[in-house]
């Protein structure tokens, strides 16, 4: 999947670049080593703090590793896939996995819908409303996950929150029920992640020649039709990027769930994989089980990444 075999127009467009470099720098051993010299710091850091921990994660997941082993009280024993067997036999794991997938899917769909709709809206209004919406969105974007979580909790607080007063819900607790707790977290996640989609898609729409849109409007196309038949296809590369980014971010939600549902909700009803792994490892000292969950997450996201790469390649994008 690495070597691009087909010669695409983009590759040809690059040829002068290659010639330029070879002309300006004598083809000596020094110059062929230069890129590696530039890459060295990045590779050292990534190797030591990303690749090695991933390897370690896989390793830990294959051992029996609890508090006793950490403190050196008992020797570590190799378990093979024992931890995975235990995990897959655990009903809670499957529940958490299902909840994670559904929750992430709901977050992604809502984020994209809100982000794209508002991006289109931004193109329909004049400077002042646009600036207002842009600034509000930037504010939401910039808000740290942890402060966003506490603020939304406060807004929906049963006793002192304004939302219950406005909706006349009395002291209804949003974090008590499983679905309403997930819903509350979803609102916060969408609130802080739609701005990225909105800003990116808006930048993309602005890059679409206005003649195209005017022609569509003159032909009597409705807003929805223009979006579906003109904008969306033209923005496809951008939409792919924001979708994948959203999938990855929302699949890994940690802070919001941890803070808003108090570490996973009543009896773990609001656990997602990330929080589940953390709880197994650091609360129950089941480091190897936590690592196994981490490996599962890693594999799922790797799958998403492969889909992403395929989409990129199909679009004929060069790397």
């Amino acid at each position: 999947m690495t070597a691009p075999t087909k010669s695409r127009p983009v590759d040809r467009a690059r040829l002068p670049v290659i010639r330029g470099v070879s002309r300006s720098s004598p083809p000596s051993r020094g110059s062929s080593g230069t890129p590696w010299l530039y890459l060295a710091p990045a590779l050292v850091v990534l190797g030591g703090l990303l690749a090695y921990p991933i390897y370690q994660l896989g390793l830990i997941s294959l051992f029996h590793y609890t508090q006793a082993q950490v403190s050196g009280g008992e020797p570590t024993t190799f378990e093979g896939f024992g931890n995975y067997a235990e995990l897959f036999a655990d009903e809670q794991f499957w529940q958490v996995l299902l909840a994670t997938v559904l929750f992430a899917a709901a977050c992604v769909v809502c984020t994209l819908a809100v982000g794209c709709a508002l991006a289109v809206l931004l193109t329909r209004v004049r400077a002042v409303p646009r600036l207002a919406l842009m600034l509000a969105a930037l504010g939401a974007w910039a808000t740290p996950a942890i402060t966003g979580s506490t603020v939304w909790l406060f807004l929906f607080d049963a006793d002192f929150g304004p939302v219950n007063r406005v909706l006349g819900l009395g002291d209804h607790s949003w974090t008590y029920g499983r679905f309403s707790a997930f819903f509350l977290v979803l609102l916060e996640v969408v609130w802080c992640s739609f701005p990225f989609v909105m800003v990116t898609v808006y930048a993309g729409i602005r890059a679409v020649p206005s003649e195209v849109l005017e022609a569509a409007a003159l032909d009597g196309a409705s807003q929805w039709r223009i979006w579906r038949s003109v904008l969306a296809p033209m923005l496809r590369p951008i939409l792919v990027v924001v979708t994948i980014q959203s999938v990855i971010w929302d699949f890994k939600v940690f802070t919001q769930i941890y803070v808003m549902t108090g570490g996973g909700g009543i009896a773990g009803q609001n656990l997602v994989l990330n929080v589940y792994a953390y709880q197994q490892a650091f609360a129950s000292s089941q480091y190897s089980l936590g690592a196994a969950i981490g490996v599962v997450m890693l594999l799922i996201l790797l799958g998403v990444t492969l889909v992403y790469l395929r989409l990129l390649r199909r679009q004929g994008e060069e790397l």
Partner: protein, 292 residues
């Protein structure tokens, strides 16, 4: 459409435009309403930070206050070593931003300005590295930091965050480095500039706007980090960062909402300032990274 009203007085013109474009009026009203809804949580946060305790714990909260007070902020800053936490957060974030920007700049230059074997493989690896769930690596990183005796030090936060912000930074900077014309490079060499000189005195200043846009992401992910701060700084509280200080006020049973909101405000403001400063570059940077 504006041509129609050109011979009239401007005021009439304005009115006519609204009447003639009910769609736009609706769109602008919607935009303003949505802006208000989106901004409301932040407004409520700042408002609650300034409200006196009695008004916060009221069953009929009002969206304004007539008696703003700094009590909550006093509690926050009076908390043991809050300034220290703030400073720690700042040190970690700045260290990560500077280090990852420099390292990513070099790496992005390598993958855009040179052809070499494994280049595509490397790029794909950088892309894949972006997808790695950082949180899943908490466990091995915890042991790594323990083995190097770095638990409870700021290094345990700085180093992993550099690693995690690098892949995205490299990926994003590619577009900016690519945008610098090759001709400039050739001209520099013809004029006798060395590689290093070209790199730092010509390329670096030209890519700086891109670096700024990129650093927003490293800054935010570092500043906002909660998991590592919680997992790696376990016993030495003097090395804690802001999120931990915020949680002091947030006790699940009886949260001190005033304190939480004041601490949240203090924590959000630096990010907001940073964001507003680089806002324009961020938008164009994203466009560049995505279109590229």
């Amino acid at each position: 459409m504006t041509l129609v009203g050109q011979d009239r007085k401007p005021r009439v013109n304005l009115v006519r435009r609204f009447v003639r474009r009910p769609g736009r009026l609706a769109a602008e009203t919607a935009a303003l309403l949505i802006a208000a809804v989106v901004a409301f949580p932040l407004y409520w946060m700042v408002l609650s930070a300034f409200k006196p305790a009695g008004e916060i714990e009221s069953s009929a909260p009002r969206p304004w206050t007539l008696a703003p007070t700094l009590d909550s902020f006093r509690r926050v800053f009076g908390q043991q070593e809050f300034g220290r936490y703030f400073l720690n957060s700042l040190v970690v974030a700045v260290a990560v931003v500077v280090a990852s920007a420099l390292i990513a700049f070099l790496a992005a230059t390598a993958v855009t300005r040179f052809r070499f074997r494994m280049r595509t493989t490397l790029l794909i690896m950088f892309l894949v590295a972006q997808m790695v769930p950082v949180e899943a690596l908490t466990i091995p990183l915890f042991f790594l930091m323990r083995d190097f005796g770095q638990l409870n030090t700021l290094w345990s936060l700085i180093l992993p965050h550099i690693a995690f912000s690098l892949p995205f930074a490299i990926w994003m900077l590619r577009g900016f480095v690519k945008a610098v014309p090759e001709a400039l490079e050739e001209a520099a060499y013809i004029d006798g500039a060395s590689r290093a000189r070209f790199l730092w005195q010509i390329l670096f200043p030209l890519v700086l706007p891109g670096l700024v846009a990129t650093s927003v992401f490293s800054f935010i992910s570092t500043w906002n980090d909660f998991l590592f701060a919680k997992s790696f700084i376990i016993s030495d509280i003097s090395q804690s960062t802001l999120p931990m200080a915020l949680l002091v006020f947030y006790k699940p049973d009886e949260p001190d909402w005033g304190g939480v909101m004041a601490a949240s405000t203090v924590m959000t403001i630096p990010v907001l300032v940073f964001f507003v400063l680089v806002q324009r570059r961020l938008v164009s940077g994203l466009g560049g990274a995505v279109k590229d």
